[in-house]
């Protein structure tokens, strides 16, 4: 698994490091830490220092025998292109620091595409919403356009339930696997909520999809709870459960949920959730 983590010096970034370390430790992922700055001349030293500090924090999570990453040979990032600097260390798995200049959302999406990542992770600010320092709607724009699944961590409080909202459309194997990793990581229960349009003929398809998923989890000897909702019940339900659970929204191209959850609704969800939001692709 390849994980991209976009970070800055703010608390909403610092606070996700423990979760990132646990995720990296469980999955033995290749990890890229991305910092984004305005200027293109050279990597800003304060940002370099921040990322190096975060790298040390992540490494310290592992015992020396278990650390899958190597130390960098120097603290100096090499220029990869204009406004693009990087340093990498390859142990059993690879750890990379990358600094790019430009917009946080755009550069995150660009690096996610370039590295072919499986999961993009970022933190999200406190009570007033989900703003990043100096740039509007960063988590929302990344969630909307990233080529991979996106995990927005709002608060790193322990959650014991993952609620996965699915519809009639084909759910990718990658999405199921991402949910499974989060269930394992959080030692959480899994609830699958099927969404159907009240008036159209999707009901049978949704039910069929739910049965397939039940069979899938039954074969893996994993208990799941299943619930079926009409489309108009989804928004209040998700708003309510997002206070206690990690919500995973399947938002593939053909997804009904993508239609139901307008960008403003996802933004609102990012604002109100007390846990984390996983956008699945």
């Amino acid at each position: 698994m390849k994980i991209l983590v976009t970070l800055d010096a703010k608390n909403y970034s610092k606070n996700i490091l423990k979760d990132v370390a646990r995720l990296a430790g469980n999955t033995l992922a290749d990890v890229v830490f991305l910092g984004v700055q305005d200027d293109t001349a050279s990597p800003r030293q304060s940002l370099v220092n921040t990322l190096l500090k975060y790298q040390k924090d992540i490494y310290s999570y592992f015992s020396p025998d278990d650390l899958p990453y190597a130390e960098f040979s120097s603290d100096r990032l090499e220029e990869k292109g204009k406004g693009d600097w990087t340093i990498s260390a390859k142990g059993m798995k690879e750890f990379t620091l990358r600094i790019k200049s430009g917009s946080v959302a755009k550069q995150t999406i660009a690096v996610a595409e370039e590295m072919n990542c499986d999961l993009a992770v970022l933190g999200c600010g406190g009570k007033a919403g989900c703003e990043w320092d100096g740039e509007m709607n960063v988590p929302l724009r990344i969630a909307k356009d990233a080529p991979c699944s996106v995990l927005v961590i709002k608060q790193t409080k322990k959650t014991n339930q993952i609620v996965s909202i699915l519809d009639h459309s084909v759910v990718s194997q990658d999405s199921l696997e991402m949910i499974n990793q989060l269930v394992t990581l959080n030692e959480a229960g899994l609830k699958i909520v099927g969404v159907q349009k009240k008036k159209d003929g999707h009901k049978a398809e949704v039910e069929k999809r739910m049965v397939e998923l039940l069979r899938y989890y039954n074969d893996l000897e994993i208990n799941v709870w299943v619930k079926l909702l009409n489309s108009e019940e989804v928004k209040p339900y998700v708003t309510n459960i997002s206070r206690e659970s990690i919500v995973a929204l399947w938002m593939g191209k053909e997804s009904l949920i993508k239609l139901l959850f307008s960008q403003s609704m996802v933004d609102k969800l990012l604002e109100t959730t007390q846990s984390s939001l996983l956008i699945l692709r």
Binding site: N26, L28, D66, N116, N180, V183, T184
Partner: protein, 127 residues
């Protein structure tokens, strides 16, 4: 390694995994056999040697850890790559203690596992 072709056994109870991996690896020149049932895979490794074994850990009716132990016991030179949708640090540690070559958490891209297989192959060829 027969006729210079590296042989790979893939065991995953989700048919989609083999369906994705087999053609891609065969295109790269590997000899690939796929299994969705642990008992069948076990029977096959008792019959013949594989250079590389790719196995899931959590499968219906079979313990992947037990399977990889048996493979390593019978053929210590076989490189085993673990793929799992339910990764934990403990299972990774246990896998490495049993001598696996690498541990990949699902989801992963085809390129990622192809790279790991190429490294395992290079190690085998190096002796």
């Amino acid at each position: 390694m027969s006729n210079g072709q590296t042989s790979i056994l893939i065991l995953d109870d989700e048919p989609i995994v083999s369906k994705r991996l087999k053609p891609s690896l065969e295109k790269k020149g590997y000899e690939v056999e796929t299994f969705t049932k642990g008992a069948d895979a076990l029977q096959r490794v008792r019959e013949r040697h594989f250079d590389i074994v790719v196995t899931d850990l959590k499968m219906e009716g079979v313990d992947g850890m037990q399977f990889l132990s048996e493979v390593k016991e019978k053929y210590p030179d076989t490189e085993v790559i673990v793929i799992t949708g339910f990764a934990t640090m403990a299972t990774a540690k246990e896998s490495f203690n049993k001598g696996v070559f690498d541990f990949l958490a699902k989801p992963f891209k085809l390129g990622e596992i192809a790279e790991v297989i190429a490294k395992a192959e290079a190690k085998i060829k190096k002796g």
